[in-house]
Every structure is written in structure tokens, then in C-alpha cells.
Amino acid sequence: MCNRLTQFFRDKLYLEVPSPDTDLIEAGLLDSLNFAQLMVHIEQEFAMHISPEDLEFDHFRTIANIAAFVATMSSAT
């Protein structure tokens, strides 16, 4: 899942993420522009819906965290 996400960051968002534990916000990779793009892409890629209430920093802070978040949401449906 982390590899898939890293590839997806590279190909869809044009962002080179060094590792699954890189803090995306501290590294300046995520900002208000691509954050919304990221949401849209995740929803499409993983066929899920992210509601505004789910928007917590920690869910998206690292690729590892995103993977965990997506896994939780998928199993909940």
C-alpha cells in the first residue's frame, strides 16, 4: 500500500516523497492546493468518500498514515 501511494504521489501529484515516514506537511509537500487534490485522488483511487469531519492532520501527515487511514475507511464500509 505504501509503495502504491508513493507511486501515486509521484505520478498524479508530481511529488517525490523520500519515505513513507516523511512528514508531508513539515516537508512543505502538502499545502492547501494539493491537499484538496489529494483528497479527490484518494477518493477516486480507492473508491471511497472522505467527509470533512475525517480531515485530521495526522491521517495525512505521512504516507504510512494515509495507508492506515485508507485501510480503516475501506474496512468500515
Partner: protein, 488 residues
């Protein structure tokens, strides 16, 4: 403390820290020391910061937060031998390797509390802000105490800001909108509520902050309003304490305005317009009723006190109502001119052709405008390749200069396409790899990020075997805009 380390009247003091009470105190200290504050964005790449430091030549940099590595890098990148003192505004000692602070917060706090005399007057420069430059380097805009005082006087009167107001502080210190937040609040004796930087990405938490802080005034760039609207983050009962909502920096899409006005029927909504060169804002338009047509444009309105909007033709003569012309600004908001750049100043700040007074200048905004039948001025767009995205002003030429410096590209061009999204304009890069070079958009972006701030990095990328050219042999930008527009 600043005077103790040798700061003289007119010296620049740079500020390298995020907005905080400490930063605001630092600004006040700088102003009281008869100096000029130069706010630097700690998120900027080192080369860009180094350029601004080299241009402003500050006597001192006041720093706080995780900037130790940045200070080291700046010291390393410094061309001149003139040393810049560092004032470390935190309680713990700075953990840099090369940098030693000339003074720290302890020193500041142990100074006497008696006020010192200051000598600055209205014509003295209060701050210098840097804006994107089309030739590749940012240009400094000095603004005087008088420039600011006039705007604050108009704004506090017009908006009726009083001590019971609770004002938002969202724009960062390197945006001049922050000057209104800070000094408008202080002038009125109101309360300033700094919005935590993190909340910008989390619309529900931002809405909660507005409610919990019982803000009476919200002032931000339109893209944030669009972002909140996109997530429908305004609570069902609105923001009960909110009286006024102001925006400035770019066009607010009318559908977004309609969303906000319907959800907050008792709030007044005001569009403010004005470039950095004319101080914070130069015109205003309070929307009388919620528009019912999502395609109706919102005007930039009429000039603030002491200022004038002029819509002129190529001969600098006023156009007829309804005719498109170049937008010029005249009056009390005009900067004295670009920092140490007489040539750029001459091109943009012109003598008023309709006046005999040589000190009567007009600033050419580069914006196109039209005078409406209702007496309000309507903004129509740019005459050049400057764009606004998320409130940031960006010269596409600055981005192209950095791209052209990359050896792995044979050719490149940057265009902006307008989307219906909250971003404003989307920056797209068309590129041709150099022979034999293996190039990916992610790698290009990573390379550019070394010298350009994140908001200037293209988000659309497309590789070409050769860039489309028009009959003059120049890059056919219209074709590129069509190509990128189709991709979306």
C-alpha cells in the same frame, strides 16, 4: 536592544519567524527603533531568502522558531562580508552551528521598560515587502508610515472598528493584509486573534475557531473562502458573532460569494482591491444584496479616502464609461518606489499627465479595468503574465527564468489556466527534455523547489517533443492554454 547593537534610523531589520505575539512585538520594537521591518517567509527556499536579504541589507535579523538551519544557510549564502546580527527571540538558545545570536530574548526582557524617544515621521519607510519579479528576482516595495496611517484611518472609520471587535489575523506577515489586521486592531483598541497556521488546511476546525473565538471580523484571501465553501464547512447556525467579512488579493468567484451570503445573512461583505505598491487596498465595494446571477462580476468599487482609481488609455487619458483601459492608482497609498531600483520605479510610477505637480504620481497596476454605469470600477484581468493564486502574486516569467536554468530541459514555458476550483489560476509547465535527459514532472518539481516557494511550483506538467510556435516563432501560449485546458 536593537539600538544597543547599532541599529540606526532607516536601517532594515528582517523578521524570520511565523506570525505570533512575539513577531508582533518584534515589529513594534523595530518601528520604535526608527527602523524598517522586512518580513521574510521562513518557508521560502534559501536562495530566494538570500536574494531578499542581499537586497534589503538588514542590520539585523530577528528570528524565532525552527529557523536555526535557515540562518546557517543564509550566513553561508551571503555574498557581502558585512555581518548581520541575529536577534534570537526565543527563550532557549539557538541551536545553529555557525550562527551566534547578538542578543536573545533574555536580554530583551531585562531591558528597562521606559519608552525610548523615536524620531521617525510619516514620510519614513515602515516596512519593505518583496513581490514576484518578472525577470526572475523578487522586487522590494517600501511603504511609509503615512501610507499605512491613511489606510488604517479610512478602514477603521468605514468598518466602524471598535474596542469590542474581535479581529482575525490570518494572512502571514509577508502579506500587507496583515498590516491592516495588526495595526487596524491596535488603532481601534480591539482584540486580534491570530489564526493558527495549521487550520488553513482543515476547514471544519477553521470554522470552529471562528465560532469559538467569537470573531466579529474575518479578513482573508478569497481562495480560503472558496476552500471552506468547497467543504461546506460553515456550521448550520452560521457565525453568530460575525459582523463583517472582507477579502482581498484576488477575484472571489460569485458562486462562492453567494454561498457565504446565503449562509450568513446578517454579515456585511466587502471586496477590497489593491496591489502592494499602493498599500494594503485602494478601493472597496460592499455587496448590497446577495447576487442571484452566479456569472455577475463583483466590482472593485470606489477608491478609499485620499486615493483615486483611474482607468486610462494608452495616452494616459480617461476612457469613456464602459470602455476597457489600464488601471492606475493615485494618492496617499503610493509607495515611494521600488527598493533601490530606479529603472523599475520609473516604468511603473509615472508622473500624472493631467497635473502640473511633479510629485503627483500614478502607479500603473498592470490590471485592466472598466468604469461601470453604476460608477464602480470593474476589474477585468491582467495585461501581462502575472497571475494570482491563493492570493499570491506570481510573475510567470519568474518561474520560467528558473526553468530555463535547468540543464535537463531544452525548452520550457509556463502558462496559467483558470479553473473553477478555489486555487485561482493553475500553473502549468510545458517542457522539452534535453537530448538524452530522463526527466519526470516529480523530479522537475523537486528541482524547482530548491529555489522557488511551493506556491510558485507548477501543478500541471506536459512533455512535448517541441513546443508549439506561432508564426512569429514565439511559443504559442494560447495553444498551450488550450492543451492544458483539455487535460482537466
Amino acid at each position: 536592544m536593537l539600538k544597543a547593537i547599532g541599529c540606526l534610523r532607516g536601517d532594515r531589520v528582517a523578521l524570520l519567524m511565523r506570525k505570533s505575539p512575539t513577531a508582533i512585538v518584534a515589529i513594534l520594537g523595530i518601528l520604535k527603533a526608527d527602523c524598517i521591518y522586512v518580513p521574510l517567509d521562513p518557508a521560502s527556499p534559501v536562495p530566494r531568502l538570500a536574494h531578499m536579504v542581499a537586497s534589503a541589507e538588514p542590520r539585523c535579523i530577528l528570528a524565532a522558531g525552527p529557523t536555526a538551519a535557515l540562518l546557517d544557510a543564509l550566513r553561508a549564502a551571503q555574498q557581502s562580508s558585512r555581518s548581520i546580527a541575529i536577534g534570537w527571540m526565543e527563550r532557549e538558545t539557538v541551536a545553529g552551528t555557525q550562527v551566534t545570536a547578538a542578543f536573545s530574548r533574555h536580554d530583551v526582557e531585562s531591558c528597562a521598560a521606559t519608552p525610548l524617544a523615536y524620531r521617525n515621521g510619516p514620510q519614513d519607510t515602515a516596512y519593505i515587502l518583496f513581490t514576484s519579479g518578472s525577470t526572475g528576482v523578487p522586487k522590494g516595495v517600501p511603504i511609509t508610515h503615512s501610507n499605512v496611517a491613511h489606510f488604517i484611518a479610512w478602514a477603521t472609520r468605514y468598518f466602524g472598528i471598535s474596542p469590542s471587535d474581535r479581529i482575525s489575523g490570518h494572512p502571514p506577515l509577508h502579506f500587507d493584509l496583515s498590516v491592516f489586521d495588526i495595526f487596524g486592531t491596535f488603532a481601534a483598541g480591539a482584540q486580534l486573534h491570530l489564526v493558527p497556521h495549521d487550520l488553513t488546511l482543515l476547514p471544519i476546525r477553521l470554522a470552529h475557531f471562528i465560532t469559538a473565538s467569537e470573531l466579529t471580523q474575518w479578513f482573508s484571501v478569497p481562495s480560503l473562502l472558496t476552500y471552506i465553501a468547497k467543504f461546506d464547512a460553515i456550521p448550520a447556525n452560521g457565525f453568530p458573532a460575525l459582523k463583517r467579512l472582507l477579502w482581498c488579493g484576488e477575484v472571489l468567484p460569485t458562486p462562492v460569494l453567494m454561498y457565504w451570503m446565503k449562509r450568513l445573512p446578517s454579515v456585511s461583505f466587502t471586496n477590497l482591491y489593491g496591489p502592494t505598491e499602493a498599500t494594503i487596498a485602494s478601493s472597496y465595494y460592499t455587496v448590497p444584496t446577495c447576487p442571484d446571477d452566479p456569472t455577475a462580476p463583483i466590482p472593485i468599487g470606489t477608491a478609499c479616502d485620499g486615493e483615486e482609481l483611474l482607468v486610462l488609455d494608452e495616452r494616459l487619458q480617461p476612457v469613456r464609461p464602459g470602455q476597457t483601459g489600464d488601471l492606475y492608482i493615485r494618492g496617499v497609498g503610493l509607495s515611494p518606489g521600488y527598493w533601490r531600483d530606479p529603472e523599475k520605479t520609473r516604468t511603473a510610477f509615472l508622473a500624472n499627465p493631467n497635473s502640473r505637480d511633479p510629485s503627483d504620481r500614478v502607479y500603473k497596476t498592470g490590471d485592466l479595468a472598466r468604469l461601470g454605469g453604476d460608477g464602480a470600477v470593474y476589474f477585468l484581468g491582467r495585461a501581462d503574465s502575472q497571475i494570482k493564486t491563493r492570493g499570491y502574486r506570481i510573475e510567470l516569467g519568474e518561474i520560467e527564468t528558473h526553468l530555463h536554468a535547468l540543464p535537463q530541459l531544452k525548452e520550457s514555458a509556463v502558462v496559467a489556466i483558470n479553473t473553477d476550483g478555489f486555487e485561482g489560476a493553475t500553473i502549468c509547465c510545458a517542457y522539452v527534455p534535453a537530448p538524452g535527459a530522463a526527466v519526470t514532472p516529480a523530479a522537475l518539481r523537486q528541482e524547482l523547489a530548491k529555489t522557488l516557494p511551493s506556491y510558485m511550483l507548477p501543478t500541471g506538467w506536459r512533455m512535448f517533443d517541441a513546443l508549439p510556435k506561432n508564426e512569429n516563432g514565439k511559443v504559442d501560449r494560447r495553444q498551450l492554454i488550450d492543451d492544458f485546458g483539455r487535460d482537466r
